[in-house]
Symmetry: C3
Subunit: 282 residues, 3 copies
Amino acid sequence: MHNSALTPPVPLPTASALAEILDRVRSRSPLVQCLTNIVVAPWTANVLLAAGAAPAMVDNPHEAASFAAVADGILVNLGTPTEETARAMRLTVAEAAESSTPWVLDPVAAGGLAWRTALAFDLLERNAPAIVRGNASEILALSGGRGGRGVDSSDSPEAALPAALDLARRSGTVVAVSGPVDHLTGGGSVVRIANGHPVMTRVTGVGCALGALMAATSGVTEDALLASAAATAILTVSADRAARTSALPGSFAVALLDELALLTPEGLEAEVALSAAAGASA
Amino acid sequence: MHNSALTPPVPLPTASALAEILDRVRSRSPLVQCLTNIVVAPWTANVLLAAGAAPAMVDNPHEAASFAAVADGILVNLGTPTEETARAMRLTVAEAAESSTPWVLDPVAAGGLAWRTALAFDLLERNAPAIVRGNASEILALSGGRGGRGVDSSDSPEAALPAALDLARRSGTVVAVSGPVDHLTGGGSVVRIANGHPVMTRVTGVGCALGALMAATSGVTEDALLASAAATAILTVSADRAARTSALPGSFAVALLDELALLTPEGLEAEVALSAAAGASA
Amino acid sequence: MHNSALTPPVPLPTASALAEILDRVRSRSPLVQCLTNIVVAPWTANVLLAAGAAPAMVDNPHEAASFAAVADGILVNLGTPTEETARAMRLTVAEAAESSTPWVLDPVAAGGLAWRTALAFDLLERNAPAIVRGNASEILALSGGRGGRGVDSSDSPEAALPAALDLARRSGTVVAVSGPVDHLTGGGSVVRIANGHPVMTRVTGVGCALGALMAATSGVTEDALLASAAATAILTVSADRAARTSALPGSFAVALLDELALLTPEGLEAEVALSAAAGASA
């Protein structure tokens, strides 16, 4: 587990740096191992394919760890854990530490449900993820606060920022708080991305797909703050465009996949609503 | 388990009462716990979100029962049960009795397959559901008749009505028989809703999503017959509209999600093809 | 297990023979039992429904074997096996031998992952499938070669043809190698189908759905080479048409379901790019 206070400062992400990450996803097609839930598995695979990554849902205890050694990035999403997938998650995260494969934790409904919350803490202790992505309630819960009523969030990303900074520093991870304005931090600098549309909350798995995209971008850069910002920009700029086609949930979801495939690095750079501020302390 | 013969008569559902239920779903966004199958989980979540409810697929034995205490309504769908989800179903249904959370049973392929049929009877005995929703073959099977050849039905809702009345009376539940004309009964009155389109049978999980919507509407009214009728009307009126956009299965499914989001209480009231008849005896 | 060298030669598939198989799928609506993965289960069911078949995802060890006795065709797809589904697969394949129900093996990621590769070989030994469908890397792996990096293929169908012929002869099965040009062989004749579009690789589960369609067509003809060719033609001719509507992944997937429902035997016969060559030896 690294401590951000002891690592050299990294430059703040810029719009052109985000565009460069999209370019790398397209050219390298990172292999993304997903241990995710039954509700979003198809959608997650389709989002990764549309964006240019290569999904592989290897989530059984016999094979997950060995696959972690060859994957470019790993997503662990706690949406519908079973005994078997929870065991696979523990093995995968341990192997990811051995093979230095970056992994992303999406602690779905952490705080509201005891078993998965304990699993989230167990995974965090085994191997610091590159990125923890959640809504405000989930981040508050992992930082010791209360959780939400389920998978949606009753807290704003702004209200969860102190918890995000605290979790990032204590766990040595980047924390991405999703919401109307996404807040991303490695414990020092804070990056805000203001793209996106309310219809995203009317389609299941948009947040889960964002975690998967972060596993993809983590496979093409070692700068986890940049990876989290690039994935957020890829998804939310595409969502802005899709919502201009339709803000109704069925046709929006279809258009979002289309726009993910159409998005160019130039378009991303032009349309991302990015602000980044260096932290008072790292 | 309540006996409909001992409870005061409830008024027959009217189109305006159905519209009022849709209004409540929109304003309250009931939290719907779904223990459902791997084929329809994504679609079910998207239907609930489009209609205005909040889905949460909590289906593991560690967490399902505790979630049942806070959910507004629960769906138990037997489409692809596993040892673990079957155990979670038993625990959830027992807790639902303790916490008076209404639950809906969707006995997919009951009668045709022995293990799940036994599971369905076990769940029915633990705690009378607010609503049992199935096709004619499934309802016949639960009432002691023969089952169908799988997940589709070779019987008509009309032919299954005596079985539905019998099951409703014996189990103290509302029984909803899906088909070209949906038949709904609490053992006395019979409500018929004649909306819908044949393309609904060419998209997987439309019936399963109806069960989920019934869990949502059960979370906003204690009148289970009204809840089942409102959910049926929400889905089938939206389907009528979607089929006017496209009667081909891919684009129909997309349009159905859009129409669920667009449907207003006024539109529902104007377009529902509802007939209700008081029963000879309750 | 039959040996193709000992069976009488079957005529090479013609475009009109493929059209006849589509006609039978429409009129008989074969019941297709699917033991498949959590990523593609919804899409697979929707593809089968759109094409006119009747999917039933019965994949638990309590019920899968008994269902195999009544199904018209069975798909076993190794995408996300669990202990429970792997046990169900073994029981199902054994029962399929007893009841002479044709089954199709889709060995997703075989070669790249050890546990499922062993499972694939175990299933092949229990009961020769009517058809093995995979990408080139998977077929190479089952024939003793190396596997790919995951679920996609880094080998061409042409390069895998010797392995396909070898696997077909040794296992007494038809082998279908998916790719830009699909190659199908029972160990003697080779059928090539050159329809399809690159966007098919940007939608998850298109190959998996092809395996499911082969289980459907296997339910309406005993000629497994014809069944595999008909399913390939149904999917890829529909894909050609859908790609003319949109070559973007979200809208392509929707259009593909629509085109599967619209495809007529006449259209299939007119548009299939079929070539068939008798083998030097059978």
